[in-house]
Symmetry: D2
Subunit: 349 residues, 4 copies
Amino acid sequence: MVIVMAPYAGETALADVVAHVEAAGGEAFVSRGVARTIIGVVGDERVLAGLVVTQLPGVAEAVRITSPYKLVSRENHAGTSTVYVGGVPIGPETVTLIAGPCAVETPEQTLAAAQLAKAAGATLLRGGAYKPRTSPYAFQGLGRAGLRILAEVSAEVGLPAVTEVVDAVDVDDVAEHAAMLQVGARNMQNFTLLQAVGSSGRPVLLKRGLTATYEEWLMAAEYIAQRGNLDIVLCERGIRTYETATRNTLDVAAVPMIRSMSHLPIIVDPSHAAGRRDLVLPLARAGLAAGADGLIVDVHAHPESALVDGAQALVGESLAALAETMHTFPALMGRTLAVPSAAEATVRE
Amino acid sequence: MVIVMAPYAGETALADVVAHVEAAGGEAFVSRGVARTIIGVVGDERVLAGLVVTQLPGVAEAVRITSPYKLVSRENHAGTSTVYVGGVPIGPETVTLIAGPCAVETPEQTLAAAQLAKAAGATLLRGGAYKPRTSPYAFQGLGRAGLRILAEVSAEVGLPAVTEVVDAVDVDDVAEHAAMLQVGARNMQNFTLLQAVGSSGRPVLLKRGLTATYEEWLMAAEYIAQRGNLDIVLCERGIRTYETATRNTLDVAAVPMIRSMSHLPIIVDPSHAAGRRDLVLPLARAGLAAGADGLIVDVHAHPESALVDGAQALVGESLAALAETMHTFPALMGRTLAVPSAAEATVRE
Amino acid sequence: MVIVMAPYAGETALADVVAHVEAAGGEAFVSRGVARTIIGVVGDERVLAGLVVTQLPGVAEAVRITSPYKLVSRENHAGTSTVYVGGVPIGPETVTLIAGPCAVETPEQTLAAAQLAKAAGATLLRGGAYKPRTSPYAFQGLGRAGLRILAEVSAEVGLPAVTEVVDAVDVDDVAEHAAMLQVGARNMQNFTLLQAVGSSGRPVLLKRGLTATYEEWLMAAEYIAQRGNLDIVLCERGIRTYETATRNTLDVAAVPMIRSMSHLPIIVDPSHAAGRRDLVLPLARAGLAAGADGLIVDVHAHPESALVDGAQALVGESLAALAETMHTFPALMGRTLAVPSAAEATVRE
Amino acid sequence: MVIVMAPYAGETALADVVAHVEAAGGEAFVSRGVARTIIGVVGDERVLAGLVVTQLPGVAEAVRITSPYKLVSRENHAGTSTVYVGGVPIGPETVTLIAGPCAVETPEQTLAAAQLAKAAGATLLRGGAYKPRTSPYAFQGLGRAGLRILAEVSAEVGLPAVTEVVDAVDVDDVAEHAAMLQVGARNMQNFTLLQAVGSSGRPVLLKRGLTATYEEWLMAAEYIAQRGNLDIVLCERGIRTYETATRNTLDVAAVPMIRSMSHLPIIVDPSHAAGRRDLVLPLARAGLAAGADGLIVDVHAHPESALVDGAQALVGESLAALAETMHTFPALMGRTLAVPSAAEATVRE
């Protein structure tokens, strides 16, 4: 069950409802959105069946949600949410391009990539300071030094930054330097990390795990939402299959499937799905044509010398082709290319 | 090695080249295209290394091809081939819509579906008379009676027919009633059937096997090509993965990957990939945006009573949305919607 | 529904029951076993609900079977069947070793492999005359010449032969030369072939498809059973997964799972699962420990010069280790090593 | 490169070698084993090519290791390591049974399960206090209270405890209460956690990720080894495939494959692979027959009321069958059932 509080309801009314739920033997999870506060209720079926809350002060309505992911499910919210990242919307009206280097290496390299990204239509800057790597002997990112470079470049080019956090202890630090926190595929079920970003006060980009089902993915989002953070954007980045000719298999059906299951926006990462430059543009177009709310793309001014994933970074002609796509595809999908908005906060009503 | 014969070369020159190859210990596979004839040569590396054929009468050139699929590889042909099916092109300049019922059930049902298909922009009619079914207790298609219905409806609405053949012994019969023979996913490595359609004189639609790699798929095409039939169109229809929420996982990257590996056209089947009506349009759009040369889609006037796969057949609003897509997407991809052409034959030069 | 005829029931009684079923709107599939004849009935639920047959002459009992594979399901037969191949049992009391060369190349090579196989404990000889190969340029087997070699060696060493058939038109020919027909993984859903071997009068070894589910596999067996042939042995040979370090992933759980779903015997092919010699013995042991009724293993006297799959063929020490396993494992599993039996026919009661 | 220090080499010699490596531009990772200390060296190929260390005081030998996982690779150690957990060996001479409840629920339930485990032949006790769960609404384990219960039961029945840690911040706490730390499948690439258990001074049980390749798995082990902890036992627990009839697909070939790639011991978890009680015994036997060094199995006195994974917990007859297997299988594999040893420490020479 999800209890929606009225806009005027105050803390006392909220505490009363929570107490009422707990007295009945249920558990209450409070999520404070911009427009209103909602309470997820969990517990034994028989207990919940007898729970009547609509007569309590401040309660607008109570919805029985049967899906195992309650706060992020479409049952909980009919429209598709728009999440604002430093004023830039990600939602159903727009197509948002997030671009930048896979890893932050130097101020010069990061700035060059950011300028390329902006010229191609990006309004958010990606760049990794903490890189989870399969091998302990591979470049692991610059860490805090990388965060500082990213924040400086972000301010210089005027693009809010999106960056990955791999450890719960770093969340505050990363949240201070970036507008959006990314949880990577390998950490999709790192529940400690999910809870930490859920309490961070920052919007979160949640990548799909390597072989996560749609339901497991939405359950991971629910871990974040349960901590009161519904500013979540999902990212399809390819799944692992028997086919090894591509790095991963982009599951483009994830876009309409997640749309039907959840109110959260969803974007596509064609770079990590493909693993090779020549596939990035076709996969980016496919993602947009399937209805994605945006793209996140690797860009590098000198991909041949990139420390991480240079083979998939766009530059030159391939980047120009992406820029062209960003001009033609949004209209085809009845959208506009996302630009920063005065409305800085998430709108969910 | 592939030996390309000059346009003027006659049968005697051809026979001489074949004899020369065989005398050297190699095997020669002759493929007669419209513009010219080519000979695939296979054999021991050391034998082939010493084989010199360019001085023989009628030989235009000899190309050493290293990929394991020689006749269908991009190394063998720089451009992308256009295959003509009853005068309708499938190739790089156009987007071709093949639509119709999954299975032919009655003349009325087939005609109704064909009219819906044509109204939506289809210029080729699909419809199954032989249905390979997992269960021996499921409807297996009408067989010959179905072929006759399909041929009659095809003539009535003026759309050349595409239909599946599941057994080598039926190839002649099917070829008599249809303009294009389809080899289904379960038969992608039924080598007897591949060789039979290779000798049929009809263009072939070769679906990707459930878990076929790109290379295995092209090898299957090579079995057809080896029998002198290069009029092959590949069809991505989703692969089997761990994700069970969709019937299959559409591997949209197959479109640009096959493009880079082979000169054969490739289309997408969003209906069998999705298995549910609401996903067909997003997947169809994704396929076209990735560069597919066409679509094959299930259409049924009364899907709720369809004998096979009704849940994925388009009708009403979903079909109207597809028709709209067929008007807007081709231009975006620098193509036109395919219409019948006076040039009935495959052009490969 | 499955109707079991009494042992004394004759053709007239059988024909009456079939007529009764058909008059009620159902379809009847007759399977003639050694001990008795059973009739699989299929049709609309409402029709079948009203069907009463137990009062008809010759009917022993009628069982309502809910699984989609009726004749091969455990619901249809409580015990595990024993299939006899040239007098050699494959069933729950024994462990049967089928061994020999992957492909028949020459009389000498086949004889040498057969002698190695027999010395290691094999009582059935494997050997391929028709080889389905991914590439049209690979060695496809000797065909009829190979069948003759296999039959001669089989007679010489006294091991009944098991060999693959890849085309329905070859079934009679193969059945004449071998004691058991093998349907390979690529042909598991070649329904024409399944029906042909179902009518062949020979026991059938049905390999699991590359990515077949247990249910699809049993459905394929049902196609054979429907033609009156219940002498079917299933063979787990590894499935395709994301892991590429081994040729396939042996799904050893298939053994107890199939045991719980079907009365058919099941054996394991460690050679094709592994693809490398050093894994064959551990996988063979794992299969037996999981309860398999036998093994089918590649053996070659000179694997380094084998035309097909030499890398996985046993010889020398690895073969001696297999022989040792055939002496120690059966007792551990409460079984004996299979030897030819006077009872030549399948016992299912 | 791996540098092996002589047994007599002291801290000064070690520091000198590290300084020498770093001066040349390489990185040095020190692992202190019981018998001797080894140094993993990483860096640019050209730098390492010129590095000469064998003349330095205290250096026994320097081995160039080409595999990407250096410290755990078979190249680094010819024999198979034996890891001691509270005096109980896990290695090539023995078969070790780890058993107990999936989750610690109450002192009584944990004690009952531990007694069942011990009676079945277990010499190590498993039991989860921290449970990573897909749903935020599922039972997450008792946490610290669970650790205390586990430690008390462990002492009472005399079985050293193995328990999962899901967060780097809990490592010290868990290490205080248990003899071995388990890293679960979902955390196999939680690199922060891997490094923390690598510094914990406790042996580590590292489960394979849901779709981890062998190489990725060994890379994860390398993260632990790099922090000086080579007391690592790998655990195959089934991988995710298209087949959904079982919870996971036990990849039994992982046992001989890991054996050929690494010197680390490997055990099998048939409970989580199967997900259903009737498959646990066949999979346990298959694992041992493939050469596993042990098993980890769920046991519960009242599985019908278990809070986590009751469907796969052994009890009664199924547990008796496991006990029987623990008596018969080790001898078959040339091993003995593991018992506590006076030698408490890992022997690697």
